[in-house]
């Protein structure tokens, strides 16, 4: 991606954050407790809207998703910690995942538990935690992740396989899956 595009996108960051936050909170507020949130879909909608209003000359939409994944994670975890702190697990938003992204046979993932596990993983393997972040929070394919992180598809596949097993174990240990 050209330097100018990156700059243009960075300038839009506050707008991206605001847009994602607005969409996420709107959805979370209007759902019943223990709702699920399709974060990848939200990120995608936000992208379409922002492209519509600002028409940036982004060569790489994957760069947008790379940033949006981090923002989305932050927004959801902040929300979950604020709203779920009192009643542990009661009204914490759950991520609804595509089948290919399932952590377990259950489709919903506790965002706070996932965040905790990812923080642990990042200490051992920061790149691998990025792979998971891009997959979970922006719904990128393994091919797109390979493009964003500039690593071989086989490496992404290996990271993803090991991360799923590792996270599943860590989250089961904390018995919050």
């Amino acid at each position: 991606m050209a330097g100018g595009d990156r700059k243009a996108l960075d300038a839009l960051l506050p707008l991206v954050y605001k847009e994602l936050r607005r969409r996420a909170h709107f959805q979370l507020r209007n759902e019943r407790p223990n709702h699920t949130l399709q974060s990848a879909a939200l990120v995608h909608e936000a992208y379409l809207r922002l492209v519509g209003i600002s028409s940036p000359q982004w060569e790489s939409r994957t760069h947008f998703f790379a940033i949006a994944a981090q923002l989305m994670r932050q927004i959801l975890v902040d929300y979950a910690r604020r709203h779920g702190a009192a009643k542990r697990g009661a009204s914490v938003p759950k991520l609804s995942l595509d089948e290919g992204m399932m952590m377990s046979r259950r489709k919903d993932v506790d965002v706070v538990a996932l965040d905790d596990a990812l923080i642990g993983l990042a200490k051992i393997d920061p790149r691998q935690s990025r792979v998971v972040e891009l997959r979970f929070f922006a719904g990128l394919s393994l091919e797109q992740i390979s493009e964003v992180l500039e690593i071989a598809p086989a490496t992404v596949q290996r990271d993803w396989t090991a991360a799923r097993a590792w996270l599943h174990r860590e989250m089961s240990r904390n018995s919050r899956v």
């Binding site: 399932m102 377990s104 051992i124 290996r158 396989t161 590792w166 599943h168």
Partner: protein, 55 residues
């Protein structure tokens, strides 16, 4: 766990998942040798992988 050790764990896990389950003990004998901690870690991840689904 150190980063190097985790890289090694990931490689062994990937290979172990690629081969047939009945071949895994022999493979783990070969690559883990006397390192029982490494072997236990890989075996634990193989179990979690199965629980999480095969995708």
């Amino acid at each position: 766990m150190s980063t190097e050790r985790w890289e090694r764990t990931k490689q062994i896990l990937e290979e172990a998942l690629r081969i047939a389950p009945e071949q895994r003990p022999a493979y783990l004998d070969l690559v883990c040798g006397a390192d029982s901690e490494l072997r236990a870690e890989v075996e634990s991840l193989i179990a979690s992988h199965a629980e999480a689904g095969s995708k």
